[in-house]
């Protein structure tokens, strides 16, 4: 039997502040090493789904369950989920004045290693991995001397998200519209980075509006999320159907 890294059953979630239900019964299973893509119209709940998995507390799970590596994810804080191996590449990454990217990543990597019982990396060891990854994703190292994300362009922020993903080596990476706002070169860089990270121990859940990302990343499964429910699942052929008929045909 295939191992499932993520199992979502009948997940319902609402906005804590207003009580508005956004997810109305999601069922989704992701196996080890699989890449899933979620598409769907605006307001369908795509972003909400990945944020609920990451643990954002402005959403409240009203019913259902999420298991990650067979553990109950809903019992874990945001930071615990991350250390357990979940990574969310943000649609709108925060700018953090005075916090340097290096220092931020060192703290994050240390926290994860500590949680896994691994020894802290020395500055030298860490810097080597850091510099190597920067090169791979092709971020200007001068940029990384600034405060985190401050003065970064939209594309640079997205590259930086993928860079952080490379540093943290998650088991499940959630990409929330990482491709939007990217030029062709950046899009290719993001696609290459994801493809390089794909292996049997790492799964991806990618939220996107555009088929063009899928020119770079070939998904195993495609899901269409409409009105808080998965309206249809299939392979990449589904993308062509969306191109031709729009989302309305699935509603």
């Amino acid at each position: 039997m295939d191992n499932k890294i993520l199992e979502i059953k009948n997940l319902k979630a609402l906005v804590s502040e207003t009580g508005e239900e956004i997810l109305s019964g999601i069922d989704l299973e992701i196996g080890d090493g699989e890449t899933h893509v979620i598409m769907g119209p605006n307001g369908g709940g795509k972003s909400t789904l990945v944020n609920v998995i990451a643990g954002r507390d402005s959403y409240e799970v009203s019913s259902g369950s999420i298991k990650f590596k067979s553990k109950n994810l809903l019992n874990m804080n945001i930071d615990e989920r991350s250390r357990e191996g979940i990574f969310l590449a943000f649609q709108y990454p925060s700018e953090i004045p005075g916090v340097r990217p290096w220092q931020f990543m060192k703290a994050a990597v240390d926290a994860k290693r500590k949680a896994n019982g691994d020894p802290e990396l020395s500055v030298r060891e860490f810097s080597k991995i850091y510099d190597d990854n920067l090169k791979k994703i092709n971020i200007n190292s001068d940029l990384m001397k600034r405060s985190l994300n401050e003065g970064f362009s939209g594309g640079e922020k997205k590259r930086n998200e993928v860079f952080q993903m490379m540093m943290l080596e998650p088991n499940l990476a959630l990409l929330d519209e990482t491709d939007s706002g990217l030029d062709v070169d950046a899009l290719k860089a993001v696609g290459d980075a994801v493809n390089n990270l794909r292996d049997s121990k790492r799964s991806f859940l990618i939220v996107t509006h555009y088929q063009r990302l899928l020119d770079h990343i070939k998904p195993d499964f495609v899901h269409i999320l409409i009105n808080g429910k998965i309206a249809e699942s299939g392979n990449s052929d589904l993308v062509k159907k969306i191109e031709n008929d729009g989302y309305e045909s699935f509603a």
Binding site: D79, S94, I96, G98, M105, A107, A108, A111, K112, S147
Partner: protein
């Protein structure tokens, strides 16, 4: 007996013992003003102090401290204390305020002037800090312990460190007055350091600084308060043509106190850059009061302050930019950003611009916010615990300011102190 009567006696005895007519010019008006008005307790029409509760100032009849009562009176222990705070300095860079033996005496770069000594280049008490401006300054003027000196081009040290050592007794009044003149073309750094002492003391230090033509002063001010002491700190600066004044203030609030800076830009083409960070916690109250008077054309001023407030503390920022009619081509900016760590903390921030010239560029802005939830979420999603993330956020907020301190020792010191202060601020 009212508290004013108490100080009246003190003032009268000081006047008797100090027969030097030379200084009466400032002492007498200070005495008169204080005896008539007392401390600025009235709320009405009192823009500077109206947000603070100054009643504790009158809760004790403070008596004047003597030097021997300071916590660190001997030279070695002051050096040691500085050392333990990460400030390594050599003997001839230090001036311990109130020390009779004045460690700077006889050195070639500095000439301490005794009261009444005449020098063509000396700044006299009250010349820059008007004793009738404020009750605190008035009391200081009336009973001040005065150190007056000038620094010239021959000053070869990296910095002059002026240390205000804390008291070792309750109910002491400390009224140091320093009159400093930086002579023409001289560039110097002065570090003004106030050590905390956990005693009920009323500290009213006043610095009067005169910058001659084309001189440059970097003035780093460190105030480390405690739960018991009060520190009303005044700096008054007079700038001549082409001079440059930079002030970096690092303040951890005493129980109540202030960092009160006024810069008079009197000479054309002068520049001032005032920056600072203030931490307040518990029920402490701290007032940052900044005034820049543009009296001459083509001057440039910048005010940039940040506050981190926690518990039920209160901070006030009032920053004023005044531009005289003739001060054309003035460029003046002001910014005050605050981070509120708890619901009980309060900031009153009050920018004010008074502009009489028509060809100027002035801007101001103030913000007060909590730790941003989105940012916290972002950081936690990278595996950082909430505490770690919060601390890193606050640290980042503070570091923007600290990193602009030019003096290595003071910058490191401020950084270390922040590390000590943060755990007490953020997570109670």
């Amino acid at each position: 007996m009212s508290y004013i009567d108490h100080y009246k006696k003190l003032i009268e005895s000081e006047l008797k013992s100090n027969k030097n007519f030379y200084f009466m010019r400032a002492v007498a008006p200070g005495a008169d003003y204080f005896i008539e008005n007392g401390f600025p307790l009235k709320k009405k029409g009192n823009e500077r102090w109206k947000y603070l509760d100054l009643r504790n100032v009158t809760s004790s009849n403070f008596i004047k401290s003597i030097y021997e009562e300071r916590i660190s009176t001997d030279f070695e222990s002051v050096l040691e204390k500085l050392n333990s705070c990460g400030i390594n300095i050599v003997e001839d860079e230090i001036l311990i305020v109130g020390d009779e033996d004045n460690h700077l005496a006889g050195r070639n770069f500095i000439e301490p002037e005794g009261i009444g000594a005449s020098s063509p280049s000396k700044t006299n008490i009250g010349e820059i800090a008007n004793p009738e401006e404020d009750g605190f300054i008035a009391l200081n003027a009336a009973v001040a312990d005065i150190t007056s000196f000038w620094i010239d081009e021959n000053f070869s040290k990296k910095a002059l460190n002026i240390v205000f050592a804390g008291q070792s007794q309750d109910e002491r009044l400390v009224t140091e007055r320093m009159c400093i003149k930086i002579l023409k073309n001289t560039e110097v750094t002065i570090n003004e350091i106030h050590f905390d002492s956990n005693f009920n003391t009323l500290n009213i230090p006043v610095l009067e600084i005169h910058l001659d033509k084309d001189s440059k002063l970097i003035h780093n001010k460190v105030i480390l308060g405690s739960e018991k002491d009060m520190n009303f700190n005044f700096t008054r600066v007079f700038q001549e043509e082409g001079s440059s004044y930079q002030n970096n203030s690092f303040c951890h609030s005493p129980s109540i106190g202030s960092n009160d800076i006024k810069v008079i830009m009197s000479g054309e083409g002068s520049e001032c850059d005032l920056r600072g960070i203030y931490f307040t916690n518990n029920k402490n109250q701290f007032n940052t009061h900044i005034t820049v008077d543009h009296l001459a054309p083509n001057c440039k001023s910048n005010q940039f302050f940040k506050g981190v407030l926690s518990d039920e503390s209160k901070a006030v920022f009032s920053g004023k930019i005044f531009v005289e009619k003739g001060a054309q081509k003035t460029y003046a900016t002001q910014k005050d950003l605050n981070l509120l760590m708890s619901k009980g903390a309060e900031i009153d921030t009050k920018p004010s611009l008074e502009i009489y010239a028509d060809d100027v560029e002035c801007s101001h802005g103030a913000t007060a916010g909590n730790v941003d939830e989105n940012t916290l979420y972002y950081m936690m999603s990278r595996g950082l615990k909430k505490e770690t993330a919060t601390r890193m956020l606050v640290r980042g907020f503070v570091d923007e300011m600290i990193n602009s301190i030019s003096d290595d020792k003071i910058r490191k010191f401020a950084s270390n102190q922040t590390e000590l202060i943060l755990p007490n601020l953020a997570f109670k």
